[in-house]
């Protein structure tokens, strides 16, 4: 073992023979030894060099051995092992020496063996002290680290003792609950909900075996906080509780949106079925057994509603597929003028059956856009179809194409039933349909315009509506034109 080499010793004695003797004996054993002839120079040396072990003569002029020992204990708090060297070999003296903070006692006169034995014990003590210090400093830095981690946590953390009194609260918890932590804070200051207080008390009262976690949600000024209460185990006993607070506002809002959507979907799916069952129910009562034409009329309505339901399911599945990014697109340069012509051709028969005259206006052209063809169909066929459905017999449907800077502007104007400003405000919401006597016979899913808006936004396009009740509506689509193509063509 070479630990002596790492150990630095100070020998303080006013007798030169004594201090040099100690130095000589210990140097032989590999210690590095300094000497001091009195208390003052000892203190100077102690402040200059780092010592592990000090042999201190008790009786010295000026600052005596006790004073130096006290100084060491005060200044270096236990990091230097002190051995008092004295001729006063009594039990009382030994007690007195240890009372002043010395580790051991070496009686004058002493032999080299005496000195080495005491040194050996003192060295062991030195090692113990070093280990302890290392451990303490590790513990300290670990404590700091945990504290830092707790303070840096994104979750709010509250620790409660066995009496349900908060003993720790990290800054995030203070932020969430808008309360500063002090020693006076009680659980009831932090939470108003008696259920949370009760659950916390129950958890603290329970044994660790019946480990329970309780979750709560509290709403505060538009934020939703999730409160999770767990048992705090100390050793094998329940030592209190830990409360973890999370901000779950976004999840909560998404959940609400999803619930609202699902609830709307359920409502929209159930309504046509209710109407169909209702009609069948009427037929079953035998009310029209003598009027087969009336039964046919009701059955036809059932068919219409069934078909609309099917269309709704198809639209829902399409929206879902599109949201999931599973709709394949092939983006190509397309002439919107040609696209609209084809689309209007498709609706020709439907328009004619309502005696609606279709006017298509597009100066020159082409009107190039970069898009997926089926997306263009989804946008403009929806608008054309609406322009026919919500039109009046003998009305007009005008589709106009023009260019405004880098934007292709398509307007689809009908001379139909129109709508109120309030209806316009809700028009692009999923499942919104203008519902009144005039629209009651017109089937639709309530998803058409919501989808138009959604698809358009993927192309950085937008849509505007102008409408007047009983005189008609104009939908205007702004679609970015494929500039490069457009410039080349001109």
């Amino acid at each position: 073992m070479d630990q002596q080499e790492n150990l630095r010793v100070l020998a303080v004695d006013d007798e030169e023979g004594m201090r040099e003797g100690i130095k000589r004996i210990l140097k032989k054993k590999g210690y590095s030894v300094d000497t001091a002839e009195d208390g003052e120079s000892a203190i100077d040396l102690l402040n200059t060099n780092g010592y592990h072990l000090a042999f201190i003569d008790l009786k010295m002029p000026g600052i005596d051995g006790f004073k130096v020992t006290e100084y060491i204990n005060e200044k270096f708090s236990g990091r230097i092992v002190v051995v008092i060297v004295s001729a006063l070999a009594t039990v009382e003296a030994a007690v007195e020496v240890t009372r002043h903070g010395a580790f051991d006692f070496l009686v004058k006169p002493f032999t080299p063996t005496d000195l080495l034995q005491v040194t050996e014990r003192a060295v062991k003590q030195c090692q113990l002290l070093q280990e302890r210090e290392k451990y303490l400093s590790e513990l300290n830095s670990e404590r700091n680290l945990s504290r830092q981690l707790i303070n840096a946590m994104q979750e709010g953390l509250i620790v409660l003792n066995i009496r349900a009194k908060p003993v720790l609260m990290n800054p995030k918890a203070e932020f969430f609950l808008e309360k500063r932590f002090t020693n006076a804070v009680e659980l009831t200051d932090l939470f108003q909900d008696p259920k949370i207080i009760e659950a916390t008390e129950q958890i603290i009262a329970s044994s660790p075996e019946e480990l329970k976690t309780r979750m709560f949600r509290i709403e505060q000024k538009g934020t939703m906080l999730q409160i999770r209460i767990d048992t705090l185990i100390r050793g094998k006993e329940t030592g209190g509780a830990i409360i973890i607070i999370n901000d779950v506002t976004e999840d909560w809002k998404a959940e609400q949106d999803k619930n609202r959507f699902v609830s709307m979907v359920a409502h929209e799916l159930k309504s046509p079925i209710a109407a169909i069952i209702n009609y069948i129910n009427v037929i079953e009562t035998g009310l029209f057994d003598n009027q087969p034409e009336k039964i046919h009329e009701l059955l036809n309505r059932c068919k219409v509603r069934g078909e609309a339901l099917l269309e709704l399911i198809r639209d829902l599945l399409y929206i879902n597929k599109r949201e999931a990014g599973k709709v394949e697109k092939s983006i190509e340069a397309l002439d919107l003028k040609e696209v609209l012509k084809e689309q209007l051709e498709f609706y020709k028969v439907q328009a004619e059956s309502k005696k609606i005259s279709v006017i298509f206006g597009a100066e020159d052209g082409p009107y190039m856009v970069k898009a997926d063809r089926s997306d263009l169909d989804r946008i403009f066929m929806n608008l054309i179809s609406n322009g026919i459905k919500y039109n009046r017999e003998g009305g007009t449907l005008s589709v106009d194409l023009k260019r405004e800077g880098g934007i292709v502007v398509v307007s689809v104007a009908d001379s139909g039933i129109g709508m109120s400003q309030e209806d316009i405000g809700n028009l692009f919401q999923e499942f919104f349909r203008v519902r009144n006597r005039k629209t009651s016979g017109i089937s639709g899913t309530g998803l058409g315009l919501a989808t138009v808006k959604r698809v358009l936004s993927e192309y950085n396009g937008r849509i505007e509506v102008q409408s007047e009740p009983d005189s008609g509506s104009t939908f205007t689509v702004y679609f970015p034109s494929d500039d490069t193509k457009h410039l080349r063509q001109e």
Partner: protein
């Protein structure tokens, strides 16, 4: 309310024209005078000239809660506060739309006497109407 010798008046408010049609045909066949309204707005207008003995109202019409607003307007009118209202809705109970008209707390703001889930079998609806009109 016993309506001996009188043809009971029913107002049905629902935004589904087919549902209105089916229920109207059925109830008329059972001796009721039926007026239908396709929105809360129309329903309120109908009350100006039609005094129903019972009202059947949908929940989600112009707005998701139009039915409640309509029922509250009816029940808050002293002249009509005694008219029983049966609400029928396709709104799914599973997602939050749960009301129990027998719960006094809910009854405070949900001014309906009964909530039925669509589709409501016509015979069932008829039974409920008879119950509220006091004809057993």
């Amino acid at each position: 309310m016993i309506l001996e010798g009188k043809v009971p008046n029913v107002l049905i408010v629902d935004d589904d024209v087919d549902l209105l049609e089916g229920q109207k045909l059925f109830l008329e066949d059972h001796g009721f005078t039926v007026i239908t309204a396709i929105s809360m707005k129309e329903g309120i207008e109908a009350l100006d000239h039609f005094k129903p003995d019972i009202i059947i109202a949908d929940l989600m019409m112009e707005h998701y809660d139009s039915g409640f607003v309509f029922c509250k307007k009816v029940k808050d009118n002293p002249a009509m506060s005694m008219v029983p209202i049966i609400m029928q809705t396709a709104a799914p109970k599973e997602i939050g739309f749960t009301f129990d008209p027998s719960n006094p707390k809910q009854k405070q703001w949900i001014k309906v006497d009964e909530v039925l889930t669509k589709p409501v079998p016509l015979e069932h609806l008829l039974g409920k109407i008879h119950k509220y009109l006091g004809e057993v």
